[in-house]
Symmetry: C2
Subunit: 666 residues, 2 copies
Amino acid sequence: MKKHGGLSIALGLASSAMSAVGTPLQLHSRQSGAQSIDYNSAPPDLATLGNGTLFNTWRPKAHVLPPYGHTGDPTGHYVDAATGIFHVGYLWTSSDEALSGVASATTSDFVTYEDIRLPDPRYIEPGGLNDPIAVFDGTVIAEGYQGLPTFIYTSVSRLPISWTIAYTPGSETQSIAVSYDGGLNFTKLDRGPVIPSAPFGLNVTGWRDPFDFKDADFDRVTGSKSGTRYLLIAGGVHDVGPAQFLYRQYDDDLMQWEYLGRWWRESANSTWGDGTWAGRWGFNFEVSNVVRLNSEGAGADGSLFSLVCTEGGNYGVQGLREQQWAAGDVQIGKQSEKRDNDGKPSSGECLNSDRNLDFKLNMAGVLDAGASAYAAAGKLVPSTSRPSQGSGAPDRYVVYLWLTGNFFASIDFPVAQQGWDSSLLTPRELFVRTISDVVDNDAVRETGSWRVVSSDSSAGTVNLETLGQAPVREAISAYKQSATRQITEPGVTLSGFANTSTVPFTESSESRYFVLEASISFPDEARDADGVKAGFQLFGSGFERTSVYYQFSNETLIVDRTQSTAVSATTEGIDTRNEHGKLRLFDIKDSQSGRTRIESLDITMIVDNSIVEIFVNKRFVLSTAVLPWYDASKMLSFFIEGPVSVEFSDVEIWEGLVNAWPARGQ
Amino acid sequence: MKKHGGLSIALGLASSAMSAVGTPLQLHSRQSGAQSIDYNSAPPDLATLGNGTLFNTWRPKAHVLPPYGHTGDPTGHYVDAATGIFHVGYLWTSSDEALSGVASATTSDFVTYEDIRLPDPRYIEPGGLNDPIAVFDGTVIAEGYQGLPTFIYTSVSRLPISWTIAYTPGSETQSIAVSYDGGLNFTKLDRGPVIPSAPFGLNVTGWRDPFDFKDADFDRVTGSKSGTRYLLIAGGVHDVGPAQFLYRQYDDDLMQWEYLGRWWRESANSTWGDGTWAGRWGFNFEVSNVVRLNSEGAGADGSLFSLVCTEGGNYGVQGLREQQWAAGDVQIGKQSEKRDNDGKPSSGECLNSDRNLDFKLNMAGVLDAGASAYAAAGKLVPSTSRPSQGSGAPDRYVVYLWLTGNFFASIDFPVAQQGWDSSLLTPRELFVRTISDVVDNDAVRETGSWRVVSSDSSAGTVNLETLGQAPVREAISAYKQSATRQITEPGVTLSGFANTSTVPFTESSESRYFVLEASISFPDEARDADGVKAGFQLFGSGFERTSVYYQFSNETLIVDRTQSTAVSATTEGIDTRNEHGKLRLFDIKDSQSGRTRIESLDITMIVDNSIVEIFVNKRFVLSTAVLPWYDASKMLSFFIEGPVSVEFSDVEIWEGLVNAWPARGQ
């Protein structure tokens, strides 16, 4: 059921309860009220604790999340045209579920943020004629209607909505709101939806989360004027498959959007290749982005990428939802889906349409292998933006993902006791990542999350491209520069055995707030050896531990959470399932020496109390939540298993991070 | 502003006030409360009287109107498939404006009716997600969704709506409701509108009042399956003109309707011919019907007619709205309205549509020349229906019109004092009316409300066809058979003079409830004489009189209301403007004698207290309201003016009519 996870939406309450805004901020001291919590003893059943008593227990400090309540999808970001300040938005529901809508904060540096308003950080709420029940994700056009920030969003009038049940036509529409006050409020225009229904004749599985973009190739392929603005709506068609529906702007005021067809469609629950390197496409798409990326960041000269959330794939630990990406070209597609004998358009596209678009993929992958990471919503951040002016960054695409705290509301996490749940992840920059001088063997030629862009047959190598990802540069830079403590852990080469070995760092961080960087090099023998695993243990103590390691045999990065928290023994809804994601380490040929080696595993880990984000080789990310209970559970260790020697090097820790919300006073 | 006239719509009150239904029926005695009204003295300012004090003063007895409150458009009629009983519907607003919706009554004979429920006669009310503000006209498919009576109607979420102002997109949608209890209630299906918006890209002036039909010619021209059901929606496009939008059924459940284009479009405020014989097309169409008629009634073999309401014509006394009809053929139209250079469909029709429909008119006229008669809503009544089984009528098209009591709410009639306002008119049967042996002169060859269907050049004659209209046969038959008194007024030939002469009937009716039939024959000299007028005076006394006469010089039937009521001298909002409508009397050649004569004026007048309906020659109708005050104002007279002798013959009066609402006990 929409919206993916979080608190269930309080039907009809939102508008009427608006006057009763209150904030439980005062409850959120670490030890609130009469209940004293002892983090040096075994935990009680957390569900028995008072509301808000766990507010600080696992709360991140450097991430974007609301002052209290539920965080949903990131959505509605924009760069203010006048100030260059970045506005980050997210779906929000108050702890008592009385309030919901899109909340927002501003940032000049992607490090610290300021709520647009407290205690109610929303810029829009449901309760209008178009959206009596809920406001779902949308897209902000910074200079839209009358040159003002304009939010085009999914307005919801009926629930439930899910690809697993019959779709109620009209439950989702796309509506428009405009900000006259620099983003503090988005005022709904007094008119019906700008796109009043899913395409005629299509029995959709979903139809939501509009995303706007411009693209010269789309102009060409759709026969549109140069500079045309497009709108992407995610969804799918029952018994057919997931899709992204494409619309283009029809009038200057952004009030009409012309349907152009499903520019990207996949067969229901099909896969890219054999499904190894990207997840299943599932049955319904959600939150979708389109962007052109180059090696530096974003640019019109770049390659076409789409980010997409898939529902129903049911593939591995990713569960029912996956955050994927794909790259390829937009082109005129096949004409097969035309009228049937009845004279009905069998595709349900606009009648007699002679235009049939197609997204010709050349690679696809997983944007975040964490099963709880979802709903990536990015925005073009030009070099002229305030953050980029400070950092010198080029034009780039900055993406926020959502980390659901109760696995899409499918588990009964003690949300009330925590007083908040879920968070956005550290924003990322996307770019095209080139892997050079890769030995041209079978491993390269799979239908993968990479593509061969050039080959040198004399050297026997190829150059690959894939989607590159890195934590937003300003944040990493700030976490390093502002570190309260920096630890350089001496490099070490460890030989594993049949059983796991852990070797404590010479010096661990004193808190659960840090950035860890490290490089792990595997010997060639690792390819043929059994059971080679190497990585780290986090949050370690005699009671708890979390292992993050690469398992060579199946090319998988794993986060073993089975022993990560003592709480799982006492409390329902604590997700300790392993996380894992596929990552291929290629053989790289040194062009000078001609020697071949396995590329190293270069890790950047952001650890923010309970949030663990693992960036590897600028092309793989796995984000997850880990919930250690004991104060003692802070030890860092090397982790090794298997009969080969693995080299750990360049191990550095910057402790402290930065409080992202200095104005909140929490 | 929609809805044409009547009480303003009580925003948001309808649903919440539902539990407070009350009826003021008990107030409605002729002399209610402490205020005694003397109809033998000059009237007071009626606006000073208590609520409901005038309830019976002008209330009709034989017409369809609610037990109290405001009558709006007739709408949502149907013949129950199981019982054959006819359900007549109408928009209704309670006197306190707290309740609104579609009310309904049943009839087995078009003479007496029974409310489906008292005191609240509605089968549907606004207040749902699709129609938070109002329910406008719709169409009932007797065997629709799951074989049940199904109402497809205009669901309103925003007001005001008017062709004179910018259209608020989304203010009108088309929704669906189903009756599970034989028409007592129509339950809205829990889904969005079945047609969620006006056609893409069109800046409509209005888009409402769906009407369903089937037609083999439409099947052929639109390339549809035989027996396809169509939906007509009335409206128009700003700066272009009025139109009827055509849709066809797409799924068995009636949930999807495929847009086929504007099958009938007129240029803004253009006319049929020079505008003499039909009104202006205005700027927006409302309530539209499509039906095939033959000489007996309705039939698939018949000629194609459309009834249409036009807004904005501003032509003569018809004021801003006209009830018109047209006949012609549906055909493939010109391809002119395609894409412009931008690649936008300039017509705004479905993209790339290669189908362009056209209604090729061959005649058009006015359905009712009364300025307050509007919103004709008809239904096919098969010979198997209960009324037709009783009367032996063939398949026919029975039409109800609305007679607004305060000129579309533009005048301040003392509605509260009356406790009700407006009424439906006596239902009519429509058919093709042939006029044979018409001398083939210039008068015949105008672009008129008739068409030449055959000619006999040797005889110098033609046969014409036009739309035929007659009061529904069961009603006229019952009024005659049940008459409390029947008067045969002797025929008389009267010579007029320069001034008007009136000659009282030898015996007038004793009440204002009667049917009058008469024939008036003009001599050939009437064509060249000045100032020839002949007709009747109604509601006569020393204080008041109303003249109904044909004025030869401009071929116009006139109802002179200027002296019709003493109330106009004391009270605002009493409409005493003249009514008039164009009617051409042709020269008919007797095929036996070869002699030519002007066809006679054959009148059937239904007089029901204040409602006067004048049917002439089975092809002209003028309905109006006349509001005599004095009890004495009941005298009937012949009316004559001009220097020729006019023969009045076959003058008969059937007094009494029939109480249409025996179960109400009023």
